[in-house]
Amino acid sequence: MSGRLQRFAGILFCALISTSAVAPASVDLATGIRHVVPTGTIADCDSKASAALGAYLQHVLSPTQDEWVGTGPKTEGIQSDTTSAGTIRCFAHAGGYVVTFTCSVEAPNNPYTATALCDDLLNNFEGQPQIPLATPTPPPSGCTTASLAGVWQSDNSKMTLTLDQDGELTDSDNVIGSWVLNGLNVKLTYYGYHNLTLSSDGKHMSGSGYSFTRKC
């Protein structure tokens, strides 16, 4: 194989890995909610804005006067990537105030849309009923053909492989690799590349000299 062909194959390989591993996420933005309150104080607006953001997001702060921002998801004691954010701004206006709402979420990594978040922030601000936001779909568990996540015991040795939802695997000696499932076809990257076949009940996979049974 010539050097150029090898380079091309390498780039193609890299592109395939990258595109298969990454869902094309994008920023979903919601704007346009502008609520006029004819009588009220800016302090009242600030208080409601902070409370509304705190109901759905965390790290709520006011970096500039009368402007509030919060980021999410709202988790309790769990560090997670930020996939949603909301801002509420208060403007004095003719004896009352104007309040505006802007929301952004990372789609599809966030379970609800920016519009749904902003609608609930407005309803909370106004003391109106709110529609519960969507929650993340729980990852499949047990023996399923939808995922290889779980602990797999070798049928020929004491070796175990722990496969996670993100396509990574770790063996009992902490050696890492990766997995890809396409239908019932399994590609394991673990001391080289191995093609295996998943059983229809999702409990066994075998091929390339390997045979595993999932603990489920």
Partner: protein, 139 residues
């Protein structure tokens, strides 16, 4: 020669894993920049500056509703929106206007941080020359 090929394969694989891993860990970065207040200009000046700043920095500027004074700009990377910003123009009761900036970027997909992007927009807003014709902006 074989050692060289193995080394090159391992390097390629490492780069691929780094690229894929970095993108998979994308996160949303959102900031609101310092509000700009101008006391001696109409809100139409704000609208013109907002549009000019968005066009200059992102080559994208759209008003959410005609006359709303709320302007949105986005930047795409590989066909997906990697950055979205909003500039809000509000008249101030005492005269003049205020301009507010919200910036959201997807990191590390977008090349800049939300703070960096908002800084560029604010700078472009402050230096933009207001066009002779302006539009909208009332509450």
């Amino acid at each position: 020669m074989t050692g060289y090929r193995v080394a090159r394969f391992v390097t390629t694989l490492a780069v691929c894993i780094l690229v894929a891993g970095a993108a998979a860990d994308a996160t949303l970065d959102t900031v609101i920049a310092q509000r700009v207040t101008v006391s001696d200009k109409p809100v139409t000046d704000c609208v013109a500056r907002a549009r000019a700043a968005l066009t200059s920095v992102l080559q994208s500027a759209n008003e959410t509703d005609p006359g709303s004074g709320e302007w949105v700009g986005v930047a795409q990377v590989s066909g997906s929106i990697a950055a979205a910003v909003v500039i809000e123009c509000h008249p101030v009761d005492a005269g003049g206007y205020s301009a507010s900036f919200t910036c959201s970027v997807q990191t590390p997909t977008y090349a800049d941080t939300a703070s960096g992007l908002c800084g560029k927009l604010t700078a472009a807003f402050n230096t933009a020359a207001a066009p002779a014709t302006t539009q909208g902006g009332a509450l």
